[in-house]
Amino acid sequence: MNTICIMCPMGCPLEITESGNVIVVKGNTCKRGTDYGVQEYSAPKRVVTSLVHTETGKVVSVKTAELIDKKIIFNVLDALKNIRIKLPIKIGDVIIHNVCGSGVNIVATSSIE
């Protein structure tokens, strides 16, 4: 796969391949690029931030409390779309436990009364 390293503003174009059981990163100009390339190739992860609707129509901003597998981002978003939460909500309140079986909670990032 091809991607751009995001570890610094250089933005080295990375070419990542697998031969045998070894992941080979090419195009980087420093060690951080190798680590990033291996991570992006083997198990890319992201923090997902989005919104949930409340019963009153207001929205509350939320995030995954930790990094989640990039592959399940849209499953997580679907889970968020289907709920209507009750107010008040405080920063850090758990909105969904163990979202999509990821072991990661969805937590509120804003307090709404």
Partner: protein, 410 residues
């Protein structure tokens, strides 16, 4: 009514300034036009804030809450839904209107401008065509989506690859919209690499460099747009126009410090930053009036905004007490490749001063040279410098023996 320090704007710069001034023992008032403190951070629900300031990655509302909580714990007076109307520089008073107090006149020992910036609009970039609904600045769309819970469109094109545009491309995708493409007039993006990868590449949204929108089509609602590549002078090749069907156009085409309140006051302004010319205390050319955050110069990291607010807060508190010591002044000047330096004036004395600067183009393997009185006092190597990333260099004040010049050696 009188306060030692009056702060106009309750975003990240204003909140940091307020807390720092308060910690100096000053009586402080913040005037904020929104219904709560936090400014634009409240609508920036994505993460990536605070890595430098808090050493952890927060979303915008979380970052804002850290400061809001500190303000709440203090005796800082906060006026919400407040509109500051005028500043009287001779008497050091401001007038404002708030729902709770009506019209009010407030005396100030020092004033800090922290009004932030606003987005350039379709008019600002001379966008032609019809004027239907569906053309938004990216930040406006962000507010409608993230604060009000509205979906602004279903088929979206983003013009401009600044960070807000990139973030909104992902946000709209998350809300179920089809983001067809992001167009960038320049051959490079002013947005962070991380945002290009995680907001566009992750969702297969194409980014077309050296492209612009030539016309908007649609009577009541946007029906589509014409796009075209541009030449090196940024003029579109009209014979290469193509039509893109969409119902929404988001503009992420630059930010302008919101200095309308002080226009005509006689504050010396920088034509490059569109903010005030300031000294290392972030004091403007008018004594007792300070400026910090995006109203001073547009930042890319809120962490730097908070740091700047804190500098202004401490200095304004000292000024109000008559304890601000300045020393001999020297100019800080940008040359060869460096677009601007801030502050534009530094003082001799003890300790260190941090100079923030931006470059004019992308430079690889460049050396920054800081000279004072014709002598090189600091050199710093960079693998890359880009216009989108503000850099800083620290200078030992004992080495200052003349005007300071920052230049690049490529």
């Amino acid at each position: 009514m009188k306060y030692d320090v009056v702060i106009i704007g309750g975003g990240p710069a204003g909140m940091a300034a307020a807390i720092s001034a308060y910690e100096q023992g000053s009586s402080v008032a913040v005037f904020e036009r929104d219904t709560r403190l936090g400014g634009i951070l409240n609508q920036c629900i994505h993460n990536g804030f605070g890595l430098h300031y808090f050493k952890e990655e927060l979303t915008g509302p979380e970052y804002a809450e850290r400061f809001r909580a500190k303000v709440k714990d203090s005796n800082i007076a906060v006026y919400l839904e407040a509109m500051v109307l005028t500043i009287d520089k001779e008497n050091m008073t401001i007038t404002a209107i708030t729902p709770s107090c009506g019209f009010m006149e407030v005396e100030a020992g020092a004033i800090i401008l922290a009004m932030g910036c606003r987005e350039r609009t379709a008019g600002a970039i001379n966008l032609t065509g019809t004027r239907p609904a569906g053309v938004y600045t990216a930040g406006m769309a962000q507010r409608l989506s993230n604060i009000n819970g509205y979906m602004v469109g279903k088929k979206v094109v983003v013009l401009g690859s600044g960070d807000i545009g990139l973030i909104m491309a992902r946000r709209m995708t998350f809300e179920g919209a089809e983001v067809k493409m992001v167009l960038e007039l320049m051959p490079y993006s002013s947005g962070l690499k991380r945002n290009i990868v995680q907001c566009l590449d992750d969702y297969n949204i194409p980014l077309k460099y050296s492209y612009t929108v030539t016309r908007i089509v649609g009577r009541k609602r946007v029906e589509g747009i014409f796009i075209a590549p541009v030449d090196e002078k940024l003029r579109p090749f009209t014979d290469k126009e193509e039509y893109v069907e969409c119902d929404t156009l988001l503009l992420s085409v630059g930010l302008i410090p919101e200095n309308d309140l002080v226009s005509g006051m006689g504050i010396e302004m920088s034509p490059i930053t569109a903010g005030a010319v300031v000294d290392e205390n972030r004091q403007t050319s008018l004594k007792g009036i300070f400026s910090a955050g995006n109203v001073l110069h547009v930042h890319d990291l809120v962490d730097n905004v908070s740091a700047e607010g804190a500098i202004a807060g401490v200095a304004a508190a000292k000024y109000a007490k008559g304890e601000l010591i300045e020393g001999k002044a020297y100019a800080a000047i940008a040359e060869k490749g460096v677009r601007y330096v801030l502050p534009q004036k530094v003082y001799s004395g003890a300790g260190k001063v941090k100079l923030y600067f931006r470059v004019g183009a992308v430079y690889k393997n460049a050396r920054l040279i800081v000279a004072s009185g014709g002598e090189n006092v600091v050199t710093k190597k960079y693998m890359i410098l880009s216009p989108g990333e503000m850099e800083s260099v620290e200078l030992d004040k004992s080495k200052i023996n003349g005007d300071i010049v920052l230049s690049l050696e490529v």
